[in-house]
Symmetry: C2
Subunit: 318 residues, 2 copies
């Protein structure tokens, strides 16, 4: 049974004061920082600098560039939710981050989004050239699968195989690639809510979902538990994008630490634009409540990280 | 015991009349054509045309463009060598072809080899655009792993996991990607035999080896059998490139069905250029003899396809 209170519903804004956060004492910042540190160590270890130097420098440049490691944390927290430990989840956690990094490197390419900067640094192709950037993405993608398949964390092979199939389906033409190809095709078209949701689910939510699901699988979760984790993560993935869109129109650039209002300026489809700001906030609240509901059957202490992670994503200010 | 005779050694040329091919009746053309037909059916089935249409059209365009399906045939023949059946090998056979196709699509890109034609047809990026070509490669690469992980051919999960690790290592920064990055870096440099062999082993031999090894793994091969298949395939992979280089300087364009002498014209490093034509032929003969030796402990009838495949590669005229 879950001992955690729900946030007050009907609140007028996504405001952390209204969450009614209850009895479970938990420091999400400390939790995430500790997990991210060990994930970074594992990633550093997984891609040592060796011959040929250039490709490994390029892979490490993007893979070890920092970030909150949300996908790995989701994998580890989901593994712990069902009774597994961090060591069992680490290979799939690293794999999810390798895949995420690959998608950023390839999406930044001149023939795609043509971005020069990522997290304030030159994008991979600006630093290493387009050819190396494409190959670094390819190498990270195959390494993700190899890393899980060759892992020695004592997880049963049938669970590794299930996790590998899940990861694969999150990347390909039913996952990240599907989202990116529809996003590119939609750039010059009027996008409706269905298409917007398709893009977000495939470009963002699907890999977050796979990370969490893989964590639950390698953690020994029963089928019903794995499916609850899947629904939780799907809500959280969509929530992430809806809140991103809301922040873009409600916050200043200073508060965000990046250019505010750029979605509006670029005429990009967003939730506030397509459904209005109030409805977008309501949708975000619905998603966070749904995500919490999926956690309600689990032990409260074990569910705390995922519960607080959903709240952090919903109520963050930047 | 192997009942097959060795080709006469000391022959002055790589000439099929000198192979001394003995008692085992076997028609390699029929064998390869039958396997290729069923591989093509499986590939067609693995990538149906569905939403989003453009990415699936692009994947299918390159994946179903024909070719001899050497990697899948190697996988299936190696599986049958150790007592497995074609159905067990088909997922890894298809995966090897998906990976090979991905590497062709990405290597043809403007920022890499900048090729407009492949097998007489426009390259993927010429037909679908660079962005779609990169994404089609990414999708084929992840599908390769997903296809094996989600396969239902009754192979034990621990063998699937081993095969997935093998495939992954053949693609990444110790495999295809390593070969391509060194090849690109070597374009403007004097290449010695060590570098030439590094490029060929990584760009060509490593995936042929992985295909064969995966076939032997999913076929239930013992560790010693799997390693013998690995050494066989490594020889055959290198042989393929050495013979390619020899044909380029000894045959006319008409005989080859492609431009002859283009390696010489482009000042590209080749075996005949670096070691002379006679030594290159001698090296090829050494490789085919070594490949045969690795088959000598297996049942002659089961080994016939791999034996004849090595000979076909060694003594082909185009």
């Amino acid at each position: 049974m879950c001992t955690m209170a729900r946030p007050a519903t009907g609140s007028k804004a996504l405001d952390p004061k209204n969450t009614g956060l209850g009895p479970v004492e938990f420091n999400l910042n400390d939790y995430m920082a500790g997990k991210a540190r060990r994930v970074n160590e594992a990633l550093d270890h997984a891609v040592p600098l060796r011959h040929p130097a250039k490709i490994h420098e390029s892979m490490r440049y993007s893979l070890l560039a920092g970030g909150k490691r949300v996908r790995p944390v989701l994998a580890i927290a989901s593994c712990e939710l069902v009774g597994g430990d961090e060591a069992a989840a680490m290979p799939v956690a690293c794999a999810a981050e390798m895949i995420h990094t690959m998608s950023l490197i390839h999406d930044d390419l001149p023939c795609m989004d043509d971005d020069d900067l990522r997290r304030g640094q030159p994008t991979n192709h600006r630093a290493f050239g387009e050819d190396t950037a494409i190959l670094a993405g390819d190498a990270l993608l195959s390494l993700a699968f190899e890393h899980v398949a060759a892992s020695t964390a004592g997880v049963a092979p049938e669970r590794l195989v299930r996790a590998l199939a899940e990861l694969g389906s999150a990347v390909g033409s039913d996952g990240l690639v599907a989202g990116q190809i529809v996003d590119i095709a939609s750039e010059r078209l009027a996008v409706d809510l269905n298409v917007l949701e398709y893009i977000h689910i495939h470009k963002t939510a699907r890999l977050l979902e796979a990370a969490a699901v893989c964590g639950a699988i390698v953690g020994g979760g029963e089928d019903g538990e794995v499916e609850r984790v899947r629904r939780y993560a799907r809500c959280v993935g969509l929530l992430f994008q809806v809140v991103d869109d809301i922040l873009d129109v409600t916050k200043t650039s200073e508060e965000l630490g990046k250019t505010a209002g750029k979605d509006l300026a670029s005429d990009k489809a967003t939730y506030p634009k397509l459904m209005g700001l109030d409805k977008a906030r309501e949708f975000a609240r619905t998603l966070v409540v749904k995500a919490e509901e999926e956690l309600s059957g689990f032990d409260g202490a074990r569910a705390a990280p995922l519960y607080h992670l959903a709240h952090y994503i919903a109520y963050r200010q930047n």
